[in-house]
C-alpha cells in the first residue's frame, strides 16, 4: 500500500458544533483506487468527516488535502474545479424531486459541459445502464423505491466520470438483497471505472464485503485503521464490541 499515491489526506482535523466537539484531531490518508470505509457508531462524526472531504464543511482547525491541494485555503473557483472531480451518493439519495431520473443524472453534465443534448442523452443512458436502471429515465424520483433512488443517486454521482466517489450510508434502510446489490455495484464501479471510493457505513456485512481498508472512528478520533482482516482480529475491545454488536463492553450507550 505504501507505494500508492495518496489522493485525500486529512491532517489534525478539529470541528465543533454549538460547543460540542465532534472531531478531535483526525488524521488519515486515502490511497488512489482503493475502497476506503469509515465505520463507527451513530453520532461519532462519520458523516461530518465525509463532509470535510467534500469541502461542504470547513474545519475549525486542520487541513484537508485533495490531490495535494489544501481545500481549506482554496478560493471558491478553485474549490468548484476540484468538486467536479468527485461525486457523492447521499444517505437520502438527494435527487431533485421536480426533475425526472434522466434530468437528475444529466444535471451535472448540462451545468458543467457544453456537450450536445444528444451526447448527454447517450451518457445518461450509459450511466443508468451501469447501475442497472435502463428504461427508468422518464420516471419521477417519487415513483422509485429506496434502492432504486440510491442507484439513481449513484448514476448521478458518476455522471461526470469522477476520480473519487463518496458514499454516505449507501445501504441504510435497504433490504439485505438490495444491500448486496448496492455493495456489488460499489465494487464493480470502483474496479471498472478505476475509482477511489470513500464509504461511510455501519453495516458490518457490507464493510467486510467491499472494503480494501477500514478506519474505525470513535469519539471524534480514528481508533484503528487497517485491512478488514486486521480490523476483524483487532485486540482493541472497543473495535471488537462494535463489529460484534455486543451490549456489554467499553462503549457506553445511553438508553
Amino acid at each position: 500500500m505504501s507505494e500508492k499515491k495518496v489522493i485525500i489526506k486529512l491532517q489534525d482535523l478539529f470541528k465543533s458544533f454549538d460547543g460540542r466537539l465532534v472531531l478531535q484531531g483526525v488524521n488519515l490518508d486515502v490511497y488512489q483506487g482503493e475502497i476506503f470505509v469509515i465505520m463507527g457508531g451513530s453520532g461519532c462524526g462519520k458523516s461530518t468527516l465525509l463532509r470535510h472531504m467534500t469541502g461542504a464543511i470547513t474545519p475549525d482547525s486542520g487541513k484537508v488535502f485533495f490531490d495535494g491541494k489544501d481545500l481549506t485555503t482554496l478560493s471558491q473557483d478553485e474549490k468548484e474545479k476540484i468538486k467536479r472531480r468527485f461525486g457523492m451518493s447521499f444517505q437520502s439519495s438527494a435527487l431533485l424531486d421536480y426533475l425526472t431520473v434522466e434530468e437528475n443524472v444529466s444535471l451535472p453534465l448540462c451545468e458543467h459541459t457544453k456537450l450536445d443534448p444528444k451526447i448527454i442523452n447517450i451518457i445518461v443512458k450509459m450511466k443508468l445502464n451501469l447501475v442497472g436502471l435502463q428504461g427508468f429515465d422518464q420516471l419521477m424520483p417519487s415513483m422509485l423505491s429506496g434502492g432504486m433512488k440510491k442507484r439513481v443517486g449513484l448514476a448521478r454521482a458518476i455522471a461526470m466520470d469522477p476520480e473519487v466517489v463518496f458514499y454516505d450510508e449507501p445501504t441504510s434502510g435497504l433490504d439485505p438483497v438490495v444491500c448486496s446489490v448496492v455493495d456489488k455495484l460499489i465494487v464493480d464501479l470502483s474496479k471498472k471505472l478505476l475509482l477511489t471510493s470513500v464509504v461511510v457505513t455501519h453495516n458490518m456485512e457490507s464493510i467486510f464485503r467491499i472494503a480494501d481498508r477500514v478506519a474505525m472512528l470513535q469519539g471524534g478520533k480514528v481508533l484503528e485503521i487497517g485491512t478488514p482482516e486486521q480490523i476483524k482480529n483487532s485486540a482493541n475491545p472497543v473495535v471488537q464490541q462494535f463489529i460484534k454488536g455486543q451490549i456489554d463492553g467499553p462503549i457506553n450507550y445511553v438508553g
Binding site: 437520502s92 438527494a94 448521478r156
Partner: protein
C-alpha cells in the same frame, strides 16, 4: 440584571447576523446575474420562464379579484362620505389615484407574498432538509445561481406586470360602482379618472412593486436556505417568511411613500 443585558445583547447580535446574511444573499444574487455571464455561468432562460408562468400567469386571477373588490369597496366607502358634500363625481379620481399609488402595488405584493413567498420558502426549505441543496453544492452547482436567481428575476419582471393588472381591475371595480350604483355617466367617469391621474402616480406605484418583488423573493429564499429540522422546520420557515415579507412590505411602503411625499413626487 446582568442576565437581562446579556439577553438583549444576544438578541441584537442575532439580528445583526441575520441582516448581514440577508444582504450577503442579495449581493450573491446580483453577483450571479451581472458577473455570472462573464465567468461562463449565465443564468439559463428556461427556468426563468417557467417561474414567470408559475408566479405571474397563474396569479392573475387572484390578483384580479382581490383588487377588483378593493376598488368596489373603496368606491362605496368614499361615495358614502362624498355624497354628504355633493362631490360623488370625485369618486373616480379618488379610487384611481389611491389604487395606482398605494393599494394596487401593496395588495398585489401581499397576495404574492402569501402565494409565491410561501412557495419559495417551502420549496427551498424542503430541498435543504432533504440534502438536495448540499447535493447541488457537491456537484459544484451554486444553489443561489441555480435556484434563487431564476425566482428573483421572474418575480422582478412579473410583480410590476401583475401590479398593472391590479391597478386596472381596481379601477374597474370603482367604475362598476360609480356607473351602475352611483349613476355617474360612464364617459364622464372615465374622463374624470384620467383628468386627475398622472403618469407620476403610476410609476411611483410601479417603483414600489419592484422593491416589493425583491423583498418577497429574497426573504423567501433566505428563510428557505436557513430551514432546519424536518417537516416542522419547513412549516415554521414558511410562516416566518410570509410574516417577515408582510411586515417588510408595509415598512418599505411607508418609507417610500414618505420619500415621494417629502420630495414632492
Amino acid at each position: 440584571m446582568l442576565k437581562v443585558f446579556e439577553k438583549i445583547g444576544a438578541t441584537v447580535k442575532n439580528w445583526i447576523i441575520i441582516a448581514v446574511e440577508f444582504l450577503q444573499l442579495i449581493s450573491q444574487t446580483l453577483f450571479w446575474i451581472f458577473v455570472g455571464p462573464s465567468k461562463d455561468r449565465p443564468v439559463k432562460s428556461k427556468p426563468v420562464f417557467e417561474q414567470m408562468v408559475f408566479m405571474g400567469v397563474k396569479s392573475i386571477v387572484i390578483v384580479f379579484f382581490v383588487t377588483l373588490f378593493t376598488g368596489v369597496v373603496l368606491a362605496m366607502q368614499s361615495a358614502y362620505q362624498l355624497e354628504k358634500m355633493g362631490g360623488v363625481i370625485y369618486v373616480s379620481s379618488l379610487v384611481s389615484i389611491s389604487i395606482c399609488r398605494e393599494l394596487g402595488p401593496v395588495l398585489t405584493a401581499l397576495v404574492l407574498a402569501g402565494r409565491i413567498g410561501a412557495a419559495i420558502t417551502a420549496e427551498i426549505g424542503s430541498m435543504k432538509v432533504n440534502e438536495q441543496i448540499e447535493a447541488l453544492d457537491t456537484m459544484a452547482i451554486n444553489p443561489v445561481r441555480f435556484l434563487i436567481v431564476p425566482k428573483f428575476l421572474a418575480l422582478l419582471f412579473m410583480l410590476p406586470c401583475l401590479t398593472v393588472i391590479g391597478n386596472l381591475s381596481g379601477m374597474l371595480g370603482g367604475y362598476l360602482v360609480g356607473v351602475y350604483n352611483l349613476k355617474i355617466n360612464a364617459p364622464l367617469y372615465i374622463q374624470t379618472t384620467f383628468k386627475f391621474l398622472t403618469l407620476k402616480d403610476i410609476y411611483t406605484g410601479l417603483s414600489k412593486s419592484i422593491i416589493f418583488a425583491i423583498i418577497i423573493s429574497m426573504v423567501g429564499s433566505y428563510q428557505g436556505l436557513k430551514t432546519k429540522g424536518g417537516a416542522v422546520g419547513v412549516g415554521r420557515a414558511t410562516t416566518i417568511s410570509v410574516v417577515t415579507s408582510f411586515i417588510l412590505i408595509i415598512v418599505a411602503d411607508c418609507v417610500m411613500t414618505a420619500i415621494y411625499y417629502f420630495s414632492n413626487m
